[in-house]
């Protein structure tokens, strides 16, 4: 029983991070038809900005995190949208997919060349104390990660549904032409989406790097999990990405212990295939009608 509880808690903690990456991925897809194959690297990079702030510039941790956030917003949000997505959108999704694949490669190799190939320890924001709850070891860090992710995603949901800007963003995503007619600055709304994705990626980065250790190759598995979580949860709902992320985190851990450690990565993949074939809109998504 303690074992099951441990697995669930660890799974939820890991899943909350996947959820952050998945939400950003979903947002980009909804707002600008961008399948961002570099999403994993987006989560890997801000940690290195923070590390640069701390080691090269000698700033204290919180200042470095703010620096990391600003750089992420600038590079992963603004520059990404202006330089890569905008020129390529009229040409269809495929060239953009290739460009994001290349971008992911570029980011990965740049970090490897300019910072270092080996993993770097990353300072933890939350204390590492471990509590024993009914036989399961739960660290304060795990709980805080879960809470921060929930707050971030919950806050995002509120923002999108309750504020004017948020509703404008939703409108731009659903029907840009009509939104433009109604006076919404569609381009700016799309920019906001990219900025939000960059911010979410930074949060995820800062939360997982203490556990995973900052390394240039962190993005590979994270990216894949983000796609799976986004699709399984529901491509057109933010709540879906949250549920998807948590679900994948738990299933991954459960299958490693109870099914087969060798095939642990297979379970989320099989789930992905099953969901796509049986319920393409995801667990929480709303069915998208076929646009003729």
């Amino acid at each position: 029983m303690a074992e099951l509880l441990q697995i669930l808690i660890s799974g939820l903690a890991a899943g909350s991070i996947y959820a952050l990456a998945a939400v950003g991925f979903t947002l980009l897809w909804q707002a600008s038809q961008t399948i961002n194959f570099a999403q994993g690297e987006f989560v890997m990079l801000p940690a290195f900005f923070v590390l640069i702030g701390m080691t090269v510039l000698g700033l204290p941790m919180w200042a470095s995190i703010i620096l990391g956030l600003l750089l992420a917003l600038l590079i992963l949000g603004l520059a990404f949208k202006r330089l890569i997505v905008e020129p390529m959108l009229p040409h269809g999704t495929l060239p953009l997919v290739i460009a994001t694949i290349a971008l992911g490669l570029l980011m990965k190799e740049s970090v490897k060349e300019f910072y270092g190939a080996t993993a770097q320890p990353f300072p933890a924001i939350f204390p590492q104390t471990v509590y024993n709850i009914a036989g399961a070891s739960v660290s304060v860090q795990d709980i805080c990660n879960l809470i921060v992710s929930m707050i971030a995603i919950g806050g995002l949901q509120l923002f999108l549904n309750r504020t004017r800007t948020g509703r404008c963003m939703q409108a731009s995503a659903q029907n840009p032409a009509v939104a433009e007619i109604l006076g919404v600055n569609v381009k700016r709304m799309v920019l906001y989406t990219f900025l939000i994705n960059a911010a979410l990626a930074t949060i995820a980065s800062v939360l997982i790097s203490p556990i995973y250790l900052a390394k240039f190759s962190n993005g590979e598995t994270l990216g894949l999990v983000a796609f799976i979580a986004a699709i399984v949860g529901g491509f057109n709902q933010i709540r879906g990405a949250l549920v998807g992320g948590l679900l994948i985190g738990v299933i991954d851990n459960l299958s490693a212990v109870y099914v087969s450690a060798e095939y642990r990565s297979a379970m989320p993949l099989i789930l992905l295939i099953a969901i796509i074939l049986l319920r393409p809109q995801g667990l929480l998504g709303t069915p998208e009608g076929r646009t003729v």
Binding site: I35, F37, L83, I84, P87, M88, H91, G92, T93, L94, P95, L96, V97, I98, A99, I101, A102, L103, L105, L106, E109, S110, E113, L224, F227, I228, I231, E262, Y263, S265, A266, L269, I270, L272, I273, I276, L277, P280, R290, V292
Partner: protein, 324 residues
């Protein structure tokens, strides 16, 4: 332009025939590698460029072809039979995978194929008794045809060249046939194609399966070339590399995949002098290429050609069509 085509083609083939003469082992090996990746990329081009379906599993089909060929040739069966089985199996697996997956929107096919590729990798790695697991399979013999052995690098190159020309020929024939025109119709305007009586599902399924079969052939060639295969060579990253080849070369254009394969395989070579930075430069170049020419390199070439070609002057009064 069409007048020159046969001449250009003959020149191209001749160039391919003379290319490896007098070169070191490494260059010949790289050329063989380019030929077999071109075959796989041609298959992916059929699926992606002509039928518009994003497949991220081409490397998995190469893996199927390679492992079947390896297992069969290691047990004494001749390569040609192994190759036929590889192609057939890839075709059938493509059908089986495509049938349910093509019911959904095309970006979902990308994810299903992505998942399939990773699953295949896991199976290849974990089922040690059959596939040798992480240790892989080593020592595949190179085939000999009618007494001519292909053990040396040069004979093997010509053998690969023959396979490559055959595949290109088959693809050309497919595209010229009614099937091929149906594919093009599908890509341009699926709704109208359907209204004209084309069965979209069947056509796309066929395109996907045939593309996968090409991948199987490429894998069947890879096994004797490298004489060692392991699951890592067929992981997702290689499917992405193949996708890159097709799009960078020019998807939907016949020679695109060959150019793309050349770029992806040879460009790192040319950039090697930059040492650690070559992947960064390479990735940056791909991004720039995509931004400025989404139709890939051939598209870029065509655009430039359009600019310099003498333009037809339209009669202004006929611009709107005859007004009767």
């Amino acid at each position: 332009m069409t007048r020159y085509q046969p001449v250009l083609l003959a020149l191209g083939v001749a160039a391919l025939v003379v290319a490896p003469l007098g070169q070191g082992n490494y260059i010949i090996y790289t050329l063989c590698s380019w030929l077999l990746f071109s075959i796989a990329a041609m298959g992916l081009n059929l699926t992606l460029g002509y039928a518009g379906q994003v497949s991220l599993a081409q490397a998995a089909f190469m893996g199927i072809g390679a492992y079947i060929t390896a297992l069969m040739t290691l047990n004494g069966i001749h390569w040609s039979l192994a190759a036929i089985v590889s192609i057939g199996t890839s075709f059938l697996v493509g059908l089986a995978l495509g049938y349910p997956a093509l019911r959904v929107q095309h970006h979902f096919l990308a994810f299903v194929t992505l998942a399939f590729n990773t699953l295949l990798f896991l199976v290849l790695r974990n089922e040690e008794e059959i596939t040798g697991g992480s240790f892989g399979l080593v020592g595949m013999p190179r085939p000999s045809f009618f007494g001519v052995a292909t053990d040396g690098n040069l004979p093997f190159y010509y053998f690969s060249l023959v396979c490559f020309l055959l595949s290109a020929g088959v693809l050309w024939w497919i595209l010229r046939s009614p099937w091929g025109r149906a594919f093009k119709a599908l890509r341009e305007n699926p709704i109208r194609a359907e209204s004209l009586g084309l069965k979209i599902r069947r056509q796309t399924l066929l395109a996907f399966a045939i593309g996968s079969a090409f991948g199987g052939l490429a894998g069947a060639l890879q096994a004797p070339l490298v004489q060692f295969i392991e699951p890592g060579s067929f992981a997702l990253i290689h499917s992405l590399k193949l996708l890159l080849m097709v799009v960078v070369g020019g998807s939907g254009l016949f020679f695109g995949p060959m150019l793309g394969a050349a770029v992806v395989i040879l460009l790192p070579e040319l950039l090697r002098f930059t040492e650690g930075y070559y992947l960064i430069i390479y990735a940056a170049l791909v991004i720039v290429l995509m931004v400025y020419s989404p139709n890939g390199l051939i598209g870029l070439g065509l655009k430039l050609y359009e600019k310099f070609k003498p333009r037809r002057e339209e009669r202004r009064d006929l611009k709107q069509g005859v007004q009767l």
